[in-house]
């Protein structure tokens, strides 16, 4: 009946393929119960894996007519080598241009035709593609995605034209931003001899020199099923989605070895105590204390939250507020990195005005770290972090796109779609002894180095690469 109605009313086009959609939508539900992904909500994830190594997670959600598809691949810039920097990011751009047998720009036209939108992003250890569109366009979108993941057509003139857009992006994000310019110089020094020595966007000259053959090899090596996770959310039966993915990606071939980038043996200790500070024409001091680490466990992330909660827990206010009140710094941020393949430091970031003093901030930081080291982990602190996670989860649960984004991250980095639940369990079961041991290992011995981009009068220019002879500059 539906078919007749559709045909009578709308079908002026040549090819219809709604049949499969309707039949399968009402077919068998997944026999699995699914994995609860957000504590407090009813949302569940269904995991599948295919013979060719491809992994799929489906998150059914019928609150809206929107569907979302995320691809995440271990094909970030740490898969590059010197001389070919920026390739992973450049490749991400090329994925939107031409597919074999189809017109250039087809991806965008089809996405637009169904009223969808999307984008992509490249990091040190990943590349991700996502699109949002009305749910009934799922089959169209999977067919479209399959075409570019299996049959990308890397050719000129698009290859060369896209270099111009990438260089424009580099200018926009890096070269027009003195803090990013300085960061590029410092990064090349502190990450020397590692795959993070260059920025994700690459050296300008390397981007200009990229050729089609190199890009084709990158595609063959890293755009493979066993290197890819797909997460799909929307008003779908999970098994229906699995069948569609099998149909469009089942023939995908290729194999990528797991990524374990090489780091120098003394990498974690070689720069401890050093300062990498240079200047740009800016009016603020951007300082970072870096505690090097290869630990990307979820436990370390949760412990960093507890540490931060303890750091903030004084009668005089949060750590940042005390910095502001004492006119020592304007901004403070602590982040435990977990999203790199190997290098996952704790970064402590400060922004100071021109007159504020770096040494005073460093002393204040170390004094407060000692205070945390000498304070007992209280149940109040644990409860606070649990409550904050509850609020975070409540926010995420509001939107399917946020849920899918989070599950994609959790599955890719922790191999755990239910990482939100795991975090709660870590918090509920944390012991004073284990937590204190972690804090002791990270913070007790001042095992950090300092990086900084400061105003011109305070240090040598970043442009002159003041670290080239290991002659480090100092600043107040």
């Amino acid at each position: 009946m539906y078919y007749k109605k559709i045909l009578r009313t709308f079908c002026t086009l040549l090819f219809l393929f709604y049949t499969n959609l309707f039949v399968t939508l009402s077919a068998n539900a997944s026999s699995s119960d699914g994995i609860s992904i957000i504590p407090g909500s009813n949302l569940k994830a269904y995991k599948y894996s295919f013979k060719n190594g491809l992994r799929l997670i489906v998150i059914p959600d019928n609150r809206n007519t929107l569907a979302t598809v995320h691809f995440i691949l271990d094909a970030g810039s740490d898969r590059e080598e010197l001389g070919k920097t920026g390739l992973a990011h450049f490749f991400e751009h090329m994925m939107f241009r031409k597919t074999k047998g189809l017109a250039e720009g087809n991806y965008d036209r089809v996405l637009a035709s169904v009223g969808g939108s999307g984008n992509a992003g490249t990091g040190d250890s990943l590349v991700t593609y996502y699109s949002n569109f009305p749910a009934p366009a799922l089959q169209t979108m999977l067919k479209l995605e399959s075409a570019r993941f299996l049959h990308l057509d890397l050719k000129d003139p698009y290859f060369n034209i896209e270099k111009g857009a990438v260089i424009s992006e580099r200018n926009l994000r890096v070269e027009n931003n003195p803090v990013q310019r300085g960061y590029e110089v410092i990064r090349s020094e502190v990450q020397r001899g590692t795959p993070q020595e260059w920025m994700v966007i690459g050296e300008k000259q390397d981007v200009k020199n990229l050729n089609i053959k190199t890009a084709q090899k990158f595609y063959k090596d890293f755009y493979t099923p066993n290197n890819t996770l797909i997460v799909i959310g929307g008003a779908f039966e999970p098994d229906y989605v699995e069948k569609l993915v099998e149909e469009y990606f089942g023939e995908w071939k290729g194999h990528t070895p797991s990524n374990s980038p090489k780091y120098p043996n003394n990498y974690l200790t070689r720069d401890i105590g050093k300062r990498f500070i240079c200047s740009e024409p800016i009016t603020t001091k951007n300082i970072q204390l870096v505690y090097p680490s290869f630990d990307s466990s979820q436990k370390s992330v949760v412990y960093s939250w507890l540490f931060l909660a303890m750091l903030n827990n004084t009668k005089q206010g949060s750590f940042e507020y005390r910095l502001q009140k004492n006119n020592m710094a304007n901004q403070f941020m602590l982040e435990k990195v977990y999203y790199n393949t190997k290098f996952n430091p704790i970064n402590v970031h400060f922004v100071l005005s021109e007159k504020q003093n770096i040494k005073k901030v460093e002393q204040f930081w170390n004094k407060n770290v000692r205070r945390v080291l000498n304070t007992k982990l209280s149940q109040n602190i644990i409860d606070q972090v649990i409550k904050n996670q509850k609020v975070y989860n409540a926010d995420i649960a509001e939107k399917l796109t946020s849920v899918v984004n989070l599950v994609t991250d959790n599955s890719f980095f922790y191999n755990d779609p239910a990482a939100q639940e795991t975090e709660m369990n870590i918090l509920k079961n944390v012991t004073e002894k284990e937590f204190k041991q972690w804090v002791q290992n990270i913070f007790a011995k001042k095992q950090y180095y300092m990086t900084g981009i400061v105003p011109t009068k305070d240090a040598k220019s970043c442009e002159s690469n003041p670290f080239s002879n290991n002659k480090l500059t100092s600043s107040n």
């Binding site: 709308f10 086009l13 040549l14 090819f15 709604y18 939508l25 539900a29 909500s41 019928n62 809206n64 007519t65 929107l66 939107f96 720009g105 087809n106 965008d108 036209r109 996405l111 637009a112 035709s113 169904v114 009223g115 939108s117 999307g118 992509a120 949002n132 009305p134 749910a135 009934p136 366009a137 479209l144 060369n160 034209i161 270099k163 111009g164 857009a165 260089i167 424009s168 926009l172 070269e175 027009n176 003195p178 990013q180 008003a235 039966e237 800016i282 009016t283 603020t284 909660a309 005089q316 206010g317 949060s318 507020y321 304007n330 005005s353 109040n380 409550k387 509850k390 609020v391 939107k399």
Partner: protein, 497 residues
């Protein structure tokens, strides 16, 4: 089994060189209207509610009626200070450190700001279980703020540091703020409200603020007459009583009347005025070409659909890289610009809505600014003179309609839409998506849209071109030779601070 909300599509398989428009029967899709309530409160206040049991949290928003447009222009900076100081100064029996601790411990999100209508707005979001706590916090904040000298000193220090960081103009967002202020200067005059945004927050203006001035301002603003309170999400049964009690504790005075609004644009010009903001360390220029329309007036629903489709053809909001006219010219075919974007704004001088604008933002290498400007002008000119094709209409119309059906609106998004209209004094549509779909569906004739483009976008405009970057003297010389441009000035960024 999942309960599917079925859209009926007839999709064409994408063919070799042509992608057909996708037709869909949006009328089979249930689009429930937005169900909100209004409850009058004693003394001239009003409570609006939009409930959702699916949500795990709630939001309360209190909007005071008195806006900056009811105050002397000289009080605008102090109003910004007030919006921060009402929290930073502490309230009730607690200082800021104690308040911060309570908020952090309970994951409560509390902010205060000045909305686009110039009104002080307090917003609090929390888990449903914390409703009583939030009400206690709001009672203390609104009825017993402290406004102490020490807090003002910290605020001034922070505001000046932020301003200093802002003046580095390192990020695209900040660069666009400089560009917008300069564009307003050329279009509306140097003393216009929009042209003086940066100056208003300069250290001199910050230092001039006195504590008593902030206290006096709040005494004026603290008025339940005309106050709107918005309650959204999952809140307890007695919530309305609780918020009503809060409102009735606020004194009731005469309602505030706006005494001025940002000035109107009364002239149009045949030449585009140009200003260049020199920032020597920029390796590529950020450019904005804007056409202001002083006589466009309020658009009806059909015209809104027409401008939506026309804008979509020129610069698409769906897709990724974009096969639209502007992206194709500036990026896909030329590689000049990473992120070219163009859009129509119906009300540039919010809340004074008599001026509309079409804005084109793009980047260019410094040595190619001339070519980029020529290309942008040419692309715009072809669009306004020749209009759009039948194919473009068909494709854009259906993609915009489809995108409306693929939306993801939470109860908070819906409330933002409804409540912003209420604050503007307009009656909100309770089914804005259906209204847009109906208007868009009627747009089947390219020639009527092209007539609209001619009548509205190619008619009596005031053009402004702002370039921020470091093009050479030769490039500037070439720009000066373009007959349609009226080159006004080259200014170093430091002179604008």
């Amino acid at each position: 089994m999942l309960k599917h909300k079925i859209l009926i599509f007839c999709l064409s398989f994408f063919s070799l060189y042509k992608v057909n428009a996708v037709e869909l029967d949006w009328r089979t899709v249930p689009i429930p209207s937005i169900s909100y309530n209004r409850i009058a409160s004693n003394g001239g206040g009003a409570i609006y509610t939009l409930q959702s049991q699916d949500s795990l949290k709630f939001r309360v928003q209190v909007v005071f009626s008195e806006s900056i447009f009811a105050l002397p222009e000289s009080d605008i900076t102090a109003m910004s200070a007030l919006s921060d100081m009402i929290i930073l100064g502490g309230f009730g029996k607690k200082d800021y450190a104690q308040i911060e601790k309570e908020l952090t411990q309970n994951g409560i999100f509390l902010t205060s700001s000045i909305n686009s209508m110039g009104q002080l707005t307090i917003t609090c979001e929390a888990l449903t279980e914390d409703f009583v706590r939030v009400m206690r916090i709001l009672n203390n904040l609104i009825l017993r703020p402290k406004f102490d000298e020490k807090a003002l000193k910290i605020w001034k220090q922070q505001a000046k540091n932020s301003f200093s960081q802002f003046t580095n103009a390192n990020t695209l967002g900040v660069q666009m703020q400089f560009i917008s202020a300069e564009a307003a200067k050329l279009a509306f005059g140097k003393d216009h409200y929009l042209a003086t945004t940066i100056k208003r927050h300069s250290p001199r203006n910050i230092d001039a603020i006195k504590l008593q001035q902030i206290k006096n301002l709040y005494d004026t603003i603290k008025n339940r007459n005309g106050l709107n309170l918005f309650l959204v999400g999952s809140y307890p049964k007695n919530a309305i009583n609780n918020v009503n009690q809060l409102i009735t504790r606020i004194p009731s005075k005469d309602i505030a009347i706006n005494k001025w609004l940002p000035g109107r644009l009364t002239k149009y010009s045949s030449k585009t005025k140009v200003a260049l903001i020199r920032k020597k360390d920029m390796t590529q220029s950020q450019i904005s070409l804007r056409y202001y329309y002083p006589y466009m007036g309020e658009l009806n629903s059909i015209e809104k659909a027409q401008i939506k489709i026309a804008s979509e053809v020129f610069s698409s909001t769906v897709g990724v890289i974009g096969n639209d006219r502007f992206s194709k010219a500036m990026r896909a075919d030329s590689g000049l610009s990473y992120s070219p974007r163009a859009f129509f704004i119906p009300d540039v001088i919010d809340p004074n809505t008599n001026v509309s604008a079409f804005m084109m933002n793009f980047q260019s290498p410094n040595d190619k600014v001339y070519d980029a400007v020529i290309l942008a002008q040419k692309t715009w000119q072809q669009f306004t003179e020749k209009g759009i094709s039948k194919e473009e209409l068909s494709m854009s119309r259906s993609s915009v309609m489809n995108s409306l059906l693929g939306n993801e609106l939470t109860v908070y998004d819906k409330s933002n839409f409804i409540f912003s209209k209420i604050l503007q004094g307009k009656v909100p549509s309770v089914n804005p998506i259906q209204e847009s779909l109906e208007s868009l569906e009627l747009q089947k004739n390219a020639s009527s849209i092209n007539q609209f483009i001619k009548d509205k976008l190619d008619f009596r405009s005031s053009g402004v071109l702002i370039i921020m970057g470091n093009p050479s003297k030769d490039v500037i010389k070439k720009l000066r030779s373009i007959s349609s441009l009226d080159f006004i000035e080259v200014t170093d960024i430091n002179s604008l601070i």
